[in-house]
Symmetry: D2
Subunit: 127 residues, 4 copies
């Protein structure tokens, strides 16, 4: 399991006093950084090779600005050209959101899906 | 069906050349404005009374900055305290994303769900 | 003078109840769209040719979510390779912010400044 | 001098391949966290008591996504009800932006400026 500490931004709160639901996808994406590094080690955008296919977020509880905030990330099913990432958002000892994201290994230049190499598959399973 | 024209922002593109996936929730939220106005006519945050419970986005195609962009919104199932919103994101003649959002009618002061009044239920069905 | 209507987003409010100061640069940028179109008519990023050199924002009053919001834009001094844009943010009948932005005409491929062509100079003055 | 490490987000890049200029105000704000804590120790928004009055950013060089990124912050002049914060944005060994922000000590409930207490003044000078 990967853990990633988030520093909530005051601009991410909204006028109800909590973190706006639109900030959570950014936090989830940051927490997936080690996964993207497996596919694209130097994180250069000229060699970027993954694409988000589907994102589901369950907003379970109110998310606050001044709390210790952590995203916990595991890789779920790995198919031929795509895989699933399961994430939980924790604040202090409370689970406040859960997310499932489907990511496709993708060749931007030729605009088609790629088979996930065995080496990356092994590394994903080891996270 | 509600239609809402979006003005994509250059800050919403990313270095792959397309709109970043994290911008889409903001566009969907803007397009739900007429729905929130049914629950909270003057859109004041001191009387805000809905909360996003779940959001699922299917990213179907690449989303571009300089295209005519429109969100199409319909209300789906209406339960006792929550309802479902179904949205499509179109650019020119292409469907680029689909989303399903579950929204709860919520009393922030007392922190509990509320039954959706019959009058609002009728208005939701008429959108 | 250019005028541009802004649709404030609920995600742009913060927990003090007002629009966060970090949202204003996005609004100013949207309102400069007709200026960028003079330099880059199809607004493609592969031919993008301006860069923000300096931005100053005076936050004069509180900015609200549910108000009629407009940015008023004029071009100020035009130098050899750069020009100044002066903007005002109005909500209803109240001036809430003023901004001055210096923009450079820039060749991204060769990484140097360009002299602003006479034709664009004339169009900037006519805005 | 305060130093604050920034984790650039992929959503903060734009289609020119660099960090969008609108992301920098968010980074500067994060780096001012220790200053806000002097005024509002638990960082609760119900007791929030500062407001941004003016922000000037010099964009000196291109800002990249996958670089070690740090904001360096010092307090400048402290007046009766306001003070100036000077910040530099560094990536690896390169200064890429400079900013000056004027912040007012502010009573949101009664909507007027407050004199900065001597104790906070001393702490600001000691940062």
């Amino acid at each position: 399991m990967l853990t990633y500490a988030i520093a909530p931004r005051s601009s991410e709160t909204n006028a109800t006093g909590h973190i706006d639901h639109t900030a959570i996808p950014d936090w989830l994406e940051l927490a997936r950084t080690p996964i993207y590094q497996l596919f694209n080690p130097d994180m250069s955008f000229t060699t970027w090779n993954t694409v988000i296919r589907k994102m589901t977020i369950d907003y379970i509880g109110q998310v606050f600005h001044n709390r210790k905030t952590e995203v916990r990330t595991v890789v779920g099913e790995i198919k031929n050209t795509s895989f699933t990432v399961k994430q939980e958002l924790w604040q202090d000892e409370t689970l406040v959101a859960k997310a499932v994201t489907v990511i496709v290994y993708f060749d931007y230049a030729n605009h088609h899906k790629l088979a996930i190499p065995e080496a990356i598959r092994t590394q994903l399973l080891a996270l």
